[in-house]
């Protein structure tokens, strides 16, 4: 639509927006232009994507379209003076509102309810998530509300209902909130598939997405609306500009010459406490859930009198605890909340006037989003103060500011046809009334994620669910799906039950609920953490010191412990890599430092450390690749510093280790971080020979990358998630008895068995592809190698471990590549002796 046509359309529609204008005016507001644009577009049947900063009216832009539609439809209907809207007489399901976090559902319902109440619209409005009580679910099973706020998983569960076609008969719109959070994840693909289903069941329903501003909005729109939408009937609507944001740092009083590692960063507690005291109400963001626990304890230890007004918030805490914290923030009764990304989204906490970020911001967009949690008052400026947990992070803060000023925004790359999610969705559709394969294929290909799905991949997916996928053997006892006429359905009720349980577990590892012996649930931790505990062991969770008693009924039973000392649970998958945009800015800052230029407080602070780096080795320019060679008690170390982000480095480390190991039998253990990677070996690595033979060459990648991948366990690890989503392993179901135990196998075991006996299994192929495309960000890896190929290689032999190398040296999280016989390696090794506990 042209700008002129759009404005004429706006003019024409203005008079019909009387209701909304009046409602806005009653709150002292006026609709923004972008909101009017959305309402007009909605009325003319369009779908689209709205992008704007948090707290700028996106929700009302999406919500009033359907409301106006209702008001128009019922203009001539005499309102029934009903005091209370009844479930039985309220209109059937019209609006689906998808939210990525169940924590957001309650707030969304509250925000959506206000206009319904004020305009006496007789709709029912409810949420349905994993947290919804059983009684409410039962009522919803009989009749859904007019507007339903739900999560991607709960939407998929709706699709398993046999009467799903009737349920969606009157559906007018689907709104997907925080679409940028879902995009690029398997849950996002799950939503794409569910929306394709919705388009089939309710072709007239419009789809609107709400998103933060990201670098690839067109792709985000296409993923939301599917490949089949016409550009004419969809649009991207830009909301209001974000507020002004100030990014600064709390500079440590003493700059250590060595970047200290990991969670030792609590040296900054006094400065953090002082910053919190400056404001009325503060959010302290950390990058991981464990950090949240650690900083909560540290702040409380520094200010014991704050007990009761300081809280912590992360995704593994029990919902009631999270609700309490959020309410406290809204009411302004909490002085300080330590949180993870669980507080990044949605909810508006007006009283918050101070935001701190512990550790690396990792990306420009993410830091801006977090900054936006403060300064919600009109005209206020958002400010975020970064707290380094190691000295090098100060450079990242300076780099983020550069990126912000340059207007750089990261893209979120969507996923390409993950077959595990497809397999899960196909079973979902089979439960929801069954499917005819050709029709479902067309529907699936209508999504952006599966537009390129090949016939072979589709056939394999169906075969995987009906006969196991191998043409050679027939297995009469196996069939997740069975044929019923021209349709595929699920017949075994046990398979149906397990599938429904598995839908909810697309994210995360196997979790186990943590419960007090006599009473309430505290939240959940990873099973692997609990598995390492013995009865009597102490650990800290939800800010509380606990003593582990035992595991029973898939729950970890605990009691309160007196001492605070104890292990802190770690949750996997929370380490985010540095974004490509930020990495580039970081290289720029180091380049300046190599010329002796130190701009801004952060760079001045790291001056001594970088000068030590220069003295012992070198500060790399953007046109250089620095390689450091050292020897320690552990063996030989090679450090490479491409500054490209951890994921790219993991791929590079595997590739270079593989190429080095081709020259002589040698075993490398590797660690990677956002700045570079380390290769450690017991014997001297043939670096000079390898450099001459093209160690850093971008040639032969097609062969070398898969080979190096096979040499590591990366694909095997990636398979954990795939096995879960494809329904091979179960995170354990409640009250599952002995019969479930005989179905226990690890994803690693499946991986090995498939690799050996079913190598054409496409889930294995997918694991490799995911490592290449997602984990290694293949395109970025390729670009990096091109860049390195043109770079000047600087090899130094520092007298000691340098400041840049130090964090890699202490990292124990390692991959391995070997060209030696396993037996030869074993002869060098020792068995670890666990403290004998008098039992096995």
């Amino acid at each position: 639509m042209t700008a002129l046509a759009a404005s004429i359309d706006l003019l024409n529609s203005r008079d019909t927006f009387v209701d909304v204008d009046r409602w806005f005016a009653s709150r002292g507001w006026r609709p923004f232009g972008f909101q009017r644009e959305v309402w007009s577009a909605y009325r003319s049947g369009e779908s689209g994507l709205i992008h704007a900063a948090t707290g700028t009216g996106k929700t009302l832009a999406a919500w009033w379209g359907p409301l106006l539609e209702w008001l128009e439809e019922t203009r001539d209907v005499v309102p029934i003076a009903a005091k209370k809207v009844r479930r039985s007489t309220a209109p059937p399901l019209r609006i689906l509102w998808i939210t990525p976090l169940r924590a957001l559902a309650a707030d969304t319902v509250e925000a959506l309810a206000a206009p319904l109440r004020d305009l006496e619209i007789p709709w029912t409005l409810e949420s349905r998530t994993g947290d919804t009580p059983a009684a409410m679910r039962a009522r919803q099973r009989k009749r859904l509300p007019t507007a339903l706020v739900t999560t991607p998983e709960s939407l998929s569960l709706l699709l398993t209902r046999e009467d799903v076609r009737e349920l969606f008969a009157d559906l007018r719109a689907v709104v997907v909130d925080e679409w940028h959070e879902l995009l690029g994840t398997k849950r996002g693909v799950q939503v794409e598939l569910a929306l394709a289903r919705v388009r089939t069941l309710a072709p007239a329903a419009r789809v609107w997405g709400l998103s933060a501003t990201i670098g690839n909005l067109e792709q985000a729109r296409d993923s939301l609306l599917g490949g089949t939408h016409s550009r004419a009937s969809s649009r991207i609507v830009k909301g209001v500009e974000p507020k002004r944001v100030i990014v600064d740092s709390l500079i440590p009083p003493i700059i250590e010459r060595f970047p200290w590692a990991g969670h030792l960063g609590t040296q900054m507690v006094p400065q953090v406490v002082a910053a919190v005291e400056e404001g009325e109400s503060a959010i302290v963001f950390t990058n991981t859930r464990s950090q949240t626990e650690i900083w909560y304890q540290a702040i409380l230890a520094a200010r014991p009198e704050w007990a009761g007004t300081i809280a912590l918030h992360h995704g593994s805490l029990d919902r009631r605890k999270r609700d309490w914290v959020e309410d406290g923030l809204r009411a302004g009764t909490l002085r300080c909340v330590v949180a993870t990304s669980s507080l990044d989204l949605g909810v508006d906490f007006s009283p918050v006037d101070r935001v701190l970020q512990i550790g690396s911001p990792k990306g420009i967009a993410r830091l801006l989003q977090r900054a936006g949690r403060s300064g919600h008052r009109p005209g206020a400026v958002s400010r975020i103060s970064c707290v380094p947990t190691n000295t090098l992070e100060l450079i990242e803060v300076a780099a983020v500011r550069d990126g912000m000023h340059a207007g750089a925004v990261e893209a979120r790359a969507p996923l390409e046809r993950p077959l595990d999610v497809l397999a899960q969705h196909v079973v979902t559709v089979a439960l929801g009334g069954g499917f005819e394969p050709a029709q479902l294929l067309a529907e699936v290909r209508g999504t952006r994620a599966y537009a390129g799905l090949t016939d072979d991949e589709w056939k394999w997916t169906i075969a995987f669910l009906t006969s196991g996928g191998t043409a050679l053997t027939a297995y009469p006892e196996y069939a997740r799906l069975v044929r019923d006429g021209d349709r595929y359905v699920v017949q075994d009720p046990e398979i149906a039950r397990r599938h429904k349980m598995a839908i909810g577990t697309i994210v995360g590892d196997a979790h186990i609920s943590v419960n007090y012996v006599h009473g309430r649930a505290l939240g959940s931790v990873e099973e692997s953490f609990i598995a390492r505990l013995s009865p009597g062991d102490r650990f800290v969770f939800a800010g509380t010191p606990l003593e582990f008693i035992r595991v029973r009924d898939m729950k970890a039973w605990v009691k309160r412990a007196s001492s605070v000392k104890g292990a802190i649970p770690r949750w996997a998958g929370s380490r985010m890599p540095l974004s490509g945009e930020l990495a580039e800015m970081l290289r720029g800052r180091l380049g300046e430092a190599s010329e002796g230029t130190y701009r801004d407080a952060e760079m001045e602070a790291v001056h001594p450390m970088l000068e030590l780096q220069r003295k012992w080795s070198a500060i790399p320019r953007p046109s250089e690749l620095l390689i450091e060679r050292t020897k320690s008690r552990d063996g030989w170390h090679l450090y490479f510093f491409p500054f490209e982000g951890r994921l790219v480095h993991e791929g590079l480390a595997a590739l270079l280790a593989y190429r080095l190991a081709r020259l002589k039998p040698i075993t490398f253990s590797m660690s990677s971080n956002d700045y570079g990677f380390e290769l450690t070996s017991a014997e001297e690595p043939p670096l000079g020979e390898a450099l001459a033979a093209g160690l850093l060459s971008p040639d032969n990648l097609v062969d070398d990358i898969p080979a190096s991948l096979n040499a590591t366990e990366m694909a095997k690890r990636q398979f954990r998630e795939i096995a879960r989503v494809a329904g091979l392993v179960f995170p354990g179901f409640p009250r599952a008895g002995k019969s479930a135990r005989q179905l226990q196998a690890t994803s690693g075991l499946f991986f090995e068995v498939f690799r050996q006996y079913d190598p054409s299994n496409l889930l294995l192929t997918q694991a490799h592809r995911e490592v290449l495309e997602r984990q290694l960000e293949r395109s970025r890896l390729g670009r990096t190698l091109q860049r390195i190929a043109g770079a000047q290689v600087v090899v130094t032999s520092p007298p000691k471990i340098t400041p840049l190398a130090f964090p890699l040296w202490v990292d124990r999280n390692r991959e391995r590549v070997s060209s030696e016989k396993l037996a030869d390696r074993i002869r060098r090794m020792q068995l670890s002796l666990e403290r004998a506990a008098g039992k096995t």
Binding site: A745, M829, L833
Partner: protein, 228 residues
């Protein structure tokens, strides 16, 4: 046998075979723990696909061991069948065929926890089934590791694996034979079985197997625990 190791337990010489079994030459007995036949079929019956070739491979490996050792008897140390649901015709037929190829070999199953639920192997397989421990010479053959007065216990159940550490921050995890003071635990024989890390005591003897070679672990030490 290539890659095997001879060792002494309870005054008897045992051969630890790379393919997850123990041969007691004086008793002409092959000892095999935890084959878990029908585990793949159990999963398939529940709608989880696992290829059947695991059964064929497990049986082929048993063939090779019988030929290589010339054993006249096999003792299964429990968990012969994985589950009742795993008694699929395809699985049982394959075992029948294998049994028919070795008509003269005596076979005994010391029942394990899985056998109790899965039921004994069909009579046609001619596998004598007993509850453990079964006393034979100085040994007590059992599924669960336990202490038997006056005998050294050979058991399964645990699916033992060893984590090894070395210079250059090396680390591997491999199946192992674990000989303690009162009992020894054999690695699991079945193809579709996992590993459980052992917690060895001072004085225990541990051999790991790469599948091709059995290697004694000379030193047992307390590794530095990582900070997490």
């Amino acid at each position: 046998m290539t890659g095997a190791v001879e060792m002494d337990a309870a005054g008897e010489e045992l051969e630890l075979l790379p393919d997850h079994a123990v041969f007691w030459r004086r008793g002409s007995t092959l000892m095999v723990a935890d084959p878990h036949f029908g585990k793949a079929a159990t999963f398939r019956a529940a709608g989880i696909f696992v290829p059947e070739e695991t059964t064929a491979m497990t049986l082929t490996r048993l063939d090779e061991l019988l030929i290589a050792t010339g054993a006249e008897r096999i003792i299964f140390l429990g968990d012969f069948l994985h589950a009742r649901e795993g008694r699929a015709p395809s699985t049982l037929d394959a075992i029948e065929e294998w049994r028919a190829a070795h008509p003269w070999i005596a076979m005994t199953l010391v029942r394990g926890n899985h056998d109790v639920r899965a039921g004994d192997p069909p009579d046609s397989l001619r596998i004598e089934c007993v509850d453990g421990p079964l006393i034979d010479g100085p040994f007590a053959l059992a599924h669960h590791p336990s202490i038997v007065k006056g005998a050294y216990v050979l058991a399964g159940h645990v699916h033992p694996g060893a984590r090894l550490y070395g210079a250059g921050r090396e680390r591997v995890r491999v199946p192992c034979f674990w000989f303690g003071r009162d009992y020894a635990i054999l690695p699991a024989f079945g193809e579709f079985t996992g590993l459980a890390d052992i917690k060895a005591n001072p004085g225990d003897r541990v051999w790991v197997t790469t599948g091709e070679e059995v290697i004694a672990i000379a030193s047992v030490s307390v590794p530095q625990r990582s900070p997490n």
